[in-house]
Structure formats: C-alpha cells, structure tokens
C-alpha cells in the first residue's frame, strides 16, 4: 500500500531526511545500498577490527553497559549522602557534576560566583570539600567520572589526594576526567585559558595518567555538547574525531608512543530521537576511529583502536510543553544508545527543560535503562541491527560525511586552527539556525510544541536549590583560609606559577598545592597569571 502511494508521488513530504540538515532518505533500501565500503573488513565480527559491530565479542551478553547517572547536589554533604546511599545499594559508578564556579576556576566567594553556587552541580573549593564528598566511600572500589575540563588538573589532583588520605594507592584509582578543552571553545564554554596552554594541560594530564594512574581514563573526547549546540549527527561525529586526532597528535608531539596512552582515551556522545541514524552514527564512529588510529597513527595495541564511549540522551530534544512526553523521547534515545553498543549511559529526566531534575524524574530515567536492559531483549544479541540495508547504508553515509569533514579540517590545519578560525562554530551555528527555522515553520514537527499542542499546565514538582548555601560555602572558605599554613600556600602557588611557565608536567605541583589546601580559585589565578585568559570570538 505504502509503496503504491509513493509511486503515485503522493508522499507525506517532498523530501525525507533523518533530521534537519541530516541525511536524505530513500523510500526503501536494498543490498546495493548497504554494501560495505571494504567488504573484507568493514563488517568483521564483533570484537574484531574495525569494530563496526562492537568492540567486545560478546556485547552486553557478558556485561551490561554501566548505568551512570550524572548528578551533583549543591553541597558536598548532600551529594555525599546520595553517593553513600547509592554505594550501599550496589552502585559503584559515580558521575560528578560540578557547579560552574568550580568548572571555571572561581571560588564560591568570588564576585562572579554570585547566584551560581551549588547550581548545576556540587561546589568544590578545596581538598577539604573533596574529602567530604567521598567520606565513607572507599575510592579504591568505585569508578568516578568527573565532568571537568579547564580545571581538570586541580580536580584530579584533589581526587588523588583525597584517595591517598583514605590510604588508597593512586594506581588503584578508576574513573574518568573529561579533560576535553577543544570542545569547550566550540560549544560548552567553560574554558579559562587560550587553546595553546590549555592543550598543554590536557597532555600533562594524559601523560601523568599514563605513568601513574594506569586504570584512569585521562580524557573523554566529547561530541555531546556540540550536538546540544546544534550539530547534526554527522557533524557531531566528525568534529569529535577531529578533536581526537588533535589530542593524539599533541601527545605524540610530546614524545609519547601512541600505544602508551591511546588505550585510556574515551569518548562521549549524544543520543537523539532518530533511532536508526543514531545507531548508524555509533557504528560509523567505531569504524572510522579504528581506521584513523591504525592508518594515521600506526597504533598496534587493539585497545588503542577501540572507540569506547559514554552516551547521554540529548537534553535539547526535551520540551517544556507536556513534559511527560519526554519520558518517551528519552526511551527512544536510550534504546538507540543500547542498540548502538555504548559502554555507559546517562538518561535525562523528563523535567529538565523546566529546571534541574527532581528525584522522582531521576528515578524514572534510571528505570528506563533498567527496562531496556531487563525487559526489551535488545541487550541479548550483539549489534542487532547489523545487516539492515538501511542501517548499513546510513553507517556508510555517515562515515563518508565524517571523512569529508576531516579532509576539510586537515586542509585548514587541524581542529585547533579550525576552531580559531571559527569554522567549526559556524558550521554548528548554521545547523542550529536551520533547525530553529524548520521548527518555527512547522516543517520539523515537535510533538506538543508545534503540533498536538494543549493548554495544560505541567504541574511537575521541581527541584529547588536554597540560597543559604552560598553563605555556608563562603563561611567554610574563610575558616579554611584562617586555619591553614598560609605561608606554605603562598610558596606553593608561586611554584604552580613557575611550573606553568616551564615545560614540566603540572600534575605533581598541583597535588602538592591542593594538599596544602590551596583553593581551586587561588590555583586557577596562579595559572591565569602564567597563561592569560581567553576571550571568545562570538560566532552566531
């Protein structure tokens, strides 16, 4: 029936695409469309190069993905209470959200922190806060993902110091720091210093981890935030891999051998609602990265070739209108992530277009993953969509588009240059604006927003962060400054400045400084004096 209609050219739309600015879709796909680019290799078995179908031979039959919910609750005490509760209930993977001042190098009592304290995450000003955050949780037994970039050296130093105070050997620490500064200039915007000194801090962390934290993921190269800013699926994939190439090259330029650090590189992507395009994106990403690492960088360790990644369902797709509909969106997005073979997954809460998430909404989000894992059956087979004419064709198409972008970026001189020129930002801004126009015109339907609208009020219970927290955190800081050896702190801050000016690795002095209870803002200021601050060019 549907085919007959199509032949009569009475289809619902003039043109079908995966998303606005995405890939045009034919009526139906067959064997010709899905033929692999390299028939001998591209669709090798799961666990085999180039890992299109999965990096593990057994997929989720061995072990399910890690359900890693990103959270931070204002004060360290509240967050610690939550973490302890989760730990007692068997959760061993934590993901810490830091409030913006911590991410951007300001103490809670800084003028620019006004109004931001404890919003968007937990306030960490000093090692004292970090110690309290993990009180009662043995850091040798858990894995911790920390969304931290510009101030990653300081936060990682605090984590190591807190662990060692617990008596845990740093070699046993398991977790991730995001440490992906390039995408901050493109989308997420929590940079402090310019690209050159920032890249040096990134490589300092990667080198330090390779030598001293063998189980730690030293970077999480992120496409998520670019997608949130408006990138299409192919752009998200392309720009993330371009940044990945820049980091690998920067590490090689410091004299490191590729297989000594690449196995600890990890990635982070979004999941949109167009399920099959997302699945194809993850498959194309695995394949393209494996080829880049092998052919461009000569990596030999299979682990260097494997794209391991975390997925978060996409916040931008959630609507403030009829918020319960978001449960369905998140389900489709999480399904895409699982069908695509992610290593870990965060599902958003349905009320996040209205405010920071409430407890009830967070629970539904976690249950969504558990239902997919335990009831849907999709986790029982590896790469269930492999061989689908359409999905294989989309996988090839995304790979093709990624390679075309990578060629463009190589011609510009790499992703750092492309960012400085505003090229990547402009590509994303164009996609974002195109999307907005398509939504405003009704060409792109968003249920409950521009079609099937109702007048109902949401009536959701929202989370509220109290204002007294700011005063509490400021009080804590002044007590800390009064009770520590300020002469020693001063000497160590000078030392931080000196190492920043030299070519030495920044991490050892960071650990010394945080152990003397120098604050995050003070250490950031020492780095600001050495590196200067970055002012972005506004690309709209």
């Amino acid at each position: 029936m549907a085919e007959k209609k199509a032949e009569e050219s009475s289809e619902r739309k003039k043109e079908f695409k995966t998303t606005v600015g995405g890939i045009p879709i034919k009526k139906v796909y067959g064997p010709v469309d899905s033929a692999p680019v390299d028939p001998n290799k591209d669709l090798a078995a799961p666990g085999e190069y180039p890992f299109t179908r999965n990096i593990m031979p057994t997929g989720y039959r061995g072990r399910l993905w890690t359900m890693r919910q990103y959270a931070g609750f204002a004060t360290v005490e509240e967050t610690n209470e939550r973490f302890k509760y989760l730990y007692k209930n068997g959760q061993t993977g934590f993901s810490v959200a830091f409030h913006l001042p911590t991410q951007e190098g300001y103490d809670s009592d800084h003028l620019l922190s006004a109004g931001e304290v404890g919003k968007c995450g937990v306030a960490i000003d000093s090692l004292q806060d970090m110690e309290r955050l993990w009180e009662g949780i043995p850091l040798g037994d858990v894995s911790t993902s920390m969304t931290i970039n510009a101030t990653a050296p300081i936060i990682l130093a605090m984590y190591i110091a807190a662990a060692e105070k617990q008596g845990v050997d740093r070699k046993k620490l398991n977790g991730t720091v995001q440490n992906d500064i390039l995408k901050e200039y493109i989308a997420r915007n929590t940079y402090i210093f310019g690209p050159a000194p920032s890249m040096r801090l990134v490589t300092d962390i990667c080198t330090f981890c390779a030598q001293q934290l063998p189980q730690w993921n030293s970077i999480s190269i992120s496409g998520y935030h670019m997608r949130e800013a408006g990138a299409t699926a192919a752009q998200e994939a392309a720009f993330t891999l371009a940044n990945g190439i820049a980091y690998v090259q920067a590490m090689i330029d410091t004299g490191m051998e590729v297989d000594s650090f690449a196995p600890r590189f990890s990635f982070f992507f979004a999941a949109y609602t167009n399920v099959l395009e997302e699945v194809a994106k993850y498959r194309a990403l695995r394949r393209t990265w494996a080829k880049i690492m092998k052919d461009r960088f000569g990596a030999k360790n299979p682990r260097s070739l494997m794209l391991r990644y975390h997925v978060q369902t996409d916040g931008f797709t959630l609507t403030a209108q009829q918020p319960l509909n978001n449960v369905v969106r998140v389900t489709l997005q999480a399904l895409a992530a699982v069908l695509g073979g992610c290593q870990s997954l965060h599902t958003n809460s349905f009320d996040e277009a209205l405010s920071l998430p409430s407890e009830r909404a967070v629970q539904v989000a976690l249950r969504t993953q558990q239902i997919i894992a335990e009831e849907s059956g999709v986790a029982d087979v590896v790469d269930p969509l492999g061989g689908s004419y359409y999905v294989e064709s989309l996988t090839n198409e995304i790979e093709k588009r990624v390679l075309a972008y990578l060629d463009d970026i190589d011609r510009i001189g790499g992703s750092l240059k492309a960012i400085e020129k505003g090229y990547i930002q402009q590509e994303i801004a164009n996609s974002s604006y195109e999307h907005q126009k398509a939504v405003d015109s009704g060409e792109q339907v968003i249920v409950g927003l521009n079609k099937y609208t109702t007048q109902e009020q949401h009536g959701a219970e929202l989370l509220h962060v109290g204002a007294d927290l700011e005063a509490k955190q400021m009080d804590r800081l002044s007590k800390l400054r009064a009770g520590r050896d300020n002469h020693k702190v001063k000497l160590l801050l000078d030392k931080v400045h000196g190492v920043a000016k030299s070519n030495d690795n920044i991490m050892p002095v960071m650990i010394e400084a945080v152990e003397a209870y120098a604050t995050l803002g003070e250490i950031s200021d020492a780095l600001r004096q050495a590196f200067g601050e970055y002012r972005e060019r506004n690309v709209v």
Binding site: G115, E116, N189, A320, L354, N450, N538, V540
Partner: protein, 134 residues
C-alpha cells in the same frame, strides 16, 4: 532605515549554554533588527554599560544555569539606576514558572521559555517598542 530596533543580547553569569541566545540574535537580525551579541560570562555591570553605550531599545538576557534569580534582578536594578528608563528587557532560558512573577516585578517585560519561536519574540519586541521616538 534609521529607525531599526536596536537589541543587546547577553548571557550574565558563568553559564555556557548559548545555543538559544545565538539563535535569537540571528533570528532578530533576519527580521531587520540591529542586534549586538555581548556573549558569555558578562557581569550585570558590563551589560548595563554596553546597553547605555550602544543606545539600545531592548536588552535580552539568557540564563540556563539556575542563577537567574540573582543575576536578572541585579541587572534590572543597575539598569534602573544608571540607564534610560524606557529600555525594554526580556529574558529566556530554563526559568521555572514560579520565578516569573518575581522577575516581572523586577521589571522584566517577558520571559520566553524553551520552545518559543523567533516570531513570537520578534512580534513582542516590535509591539512593545512601537511608536518609540528615535
């Protein structure tokens, strides 16, 4: 056309979510307004200073970090003390409904939440600035 509506768009505070602000900047330009984008991490003081210097008719504030209840009223207070009385101020971001009455009381003319079309914002601004002598 010397009577173009002049708009300043800014993101006070430390929030980096600028997709919405950028789309609004471009959208308002496309309907013929003159739009200055001040960018990220600007203080209320810097916003007010720029609004006066650039002689704008409208200021658009965006915040998605939850700090709006501190940053928006502070900007309004400074604007009222230092700036011309008739600048129209609108805001956008993740702003819980219960906060809106207080923001309006502080002088913000309208709060545009997620999903608002460019057309809605442009029409609101055009209607509110209509007949304003320039």
């Amino acid at each position: 056309m010397s009577s173009k509506i002049r708009v300043l768009v800014a993101k006070p505070g430390l929030d980096g979510h600028d997709r919405g602000a950028k789309v609004v900047v471009r959208g308002l330009r496309d309907v013929g307004m003159e739009v200055i984008y001040l960018g990220l991490r600007v203080s209320p003081e810097q916003i007010v200073e720029a609004a006066i210097q650039e002689d704008v008719d409208v200021v658009g504030l965006s915040c998605l970090s939850g700090a709006h209840m501190s940053l928006f009223p502070k900007t309004m207070e400074l604007l009222r003390n230092k700036g011309p009385k008739d600048i129209l101020v609108v805001a956008g971001g993740i702003i819980p409904e219960k906060d809106i009455p207080q923001l309006k009381e502080a002088g913000i003319a309208e709060v545009f939440g997620p999903g608002t079309s460019i057309d809605t914002i442009a029409k609101f601004i055009a209607a509110k600035t209509e007949g304003k002598a320039r």
